[in-house]
Symmetry: C2
Subunit: 321 residues, 2 copies
């Protein structure tokens, strides 16, 4: 019997971890539970960035330079959209060109949008999209209900303004300090499939994703933290912070801005109630004792997944624990 | 004072007529009132084929071979969509690939969809799109409300099945006999702007468009036929039937299938209550007396707009009447 793994996942870091994991365990043993807090609607289309990043990465179709979107992509629709920005009336946000959608990538959003309009759940649609890309692991959105991560900006004129995650992340290029992260939803629930995976998995891995905007949305669903706490001995987290910085994205700055420490110790404090072990990079080996003092077991290894081999070794480490 | 012209318009034929008209009168004198009965939603996008054909044609951006869509277009999104047709569950119509949307063309649908979602009227959005293409004539959708042309199929197994106009026109390539054309709407009204144009124009032209699926939807709006009948002396129609056939599309077959005559005489019988004059092509000159017997004045000229010069001459003829 193959041990099963459930992975709490955000975008790029989680995708690379999952790719490593699938190099060492059979796909049928793997379930990813993916953040949908940064899902958005643009041009009438339903967009699920983290799900797509994981699907495209596991399918080997991701653009290796950008880390998002499809390789060999073209941008004709986006280029053509610029024509309309000049005629947009004041107050309109139609024809946004700050969120790049590649021409091939659009097909995924077309399919998702049409299926959701037909009444399919995001869980169903995600399974269909994964199958279209030949993927065998189970990829689950954390919830089938609407759930939106909202970022409160902390800068001068904009202080207190609340924007969608994509507004912050893409339009503002996560270059603006934030004063709060909140989640807008109406009693959104972890899906039954995701709950079953979390309850039944031999190991639960918190992927190296942003704790505050990728993992926190999953934890914000009713019962998830309690469920993880009850299984704490089986839960292992990989620090997304390496040497005090995030490999990608704003996790390091965000941690500081929201009163945490941008270090593996800060990560340990966020995860200690729900995970028993934190995997940290060798550059942070000197902080291992502090992680332990914070209440977690600590394993030191290479966590920067610069090659499939490193990703597989990291995955093996998380499973060995 | 420049005489003003209001044009009841469908797609390709109307677009070419309008292009000719704009060669001889100032743009500010021209208002097109455009059929929206074949508007549709695909992939979550709001698509207005006749409006777009007119806009792209007048902007000189239409693909001259196809007669629809943009020149130098690419089809990457549509090609990518094929991946999803194989995973679509039974009963789902997601990921339709029979309705081709070019990559650049998508931008127009993105803008329209987003603006309508913001609460703008189709009239407003159409004006914005026209402005984005540098167009000066007034282009108006016939209504700002939902209005859908429905075609009832007449063939063996499918007899009685009712499909959307695009289903019939594009998916079935208008190759299936029809037994009825009906209009689904909930009291849709001619817009105020369109009504003002019809009331105030010095000349009203019924463009050479399909009488049953391009012009009939406009006539189906409450009060339009009465308004045209009251102005009958100022209304001139151009026959879309030349030598018993339609230059483009299924108008000839449809006329016969629905109990009319596929000739300029059949067209005259459809229009005589609302228009005083029918412009027919030279090849139909021998039918001019029959048109007159049917109750319309008849003018014979070249109506096949194979060049801008012919289109301008045709437009001049319609205005001279």
């Amino acid at each position: 019997m193959t041990p099963t793994v459930a992975v709490l996942a955000g975008g790029v870091g989680a995708a690379r971890y999952l790719r490593g994991l699938l190099g060492i365990v059979p796909a049928r043993a793997v379930t990813a539970i993916v953040n949908t807090g940064d899902d958005t609607e643009l041009h009438g289309l339903s967009i699920s960035p983290d799900l797509d990043t994981i699907i495209y990465t596991l399918a080997g179709a991701i653009d290796p330079e950008r880390g998002w979107g499809l390789a060999r992509e073209t941008w004709r629709a986006m280029e053509a959209l610029q024509r309309y920005t000049s005629v947009r009336p004041a107050g309109s946000t139609a024809a946004p060109t700050w969120f790049n959608l590649g021409d091939q990538d659009l097909a995924t959003h077309f399919y998702r949008t049409a299926r959701l309009a037909e009444g399919a759940t995001l869980t169903d649609v995600t399974a269909e999209i994964a199958r279209a890309w030949g993927l065998e692991p189970t990829l689950l959105p954390m919830t089938d209900q609407r759930f939106r991560t909202v970022v409160e900006l902390a800068v001068g004129d904009e202080a207190g303004r609340r924007v969608s995650f994509q507004d912050y992340f893409v339009r503002l290029r996560h270059g603006v300090p934030v004063s709060d992260v909140t989640f807008e939803h109406d009693g959104a629930r972890l899906t039954d499939a995701a709950e079953a995976a979390l309850v039944g998995a031999d190991t639960v891995v918190i992927a190296p994703s942003n704790p505050l905007v990728s993992i926190a949305p999953i934890r914000a669903l009713a019962g998830v933290d309690e469920l993880l706490a009850a299984r704490r001995e089986r839960v292992v987290a990989v620090s997304p912070i390496v040497g005090g910085t995030a490999l990608k994205g704003p996790a390091d700055r965000m941690l500081v801005e929201l009163g945490h420490e941008a270090s593996v110790v800060g990560v340990a404090r966020l995860y200690r109630s729900i995970a028993s072990t934190l995997v940290i990079d060798r550059v942070d080996a000197h902080l291992a004792d502090e992680v332990r003092s914070a209440g977690m077991r600590c394993v030191v290894t290479d966590t920067v997944m610069s090659s499939p081999e490193v990703a597989q070794a990291l995955a093996a480490t998380t499973l060995d624990i």
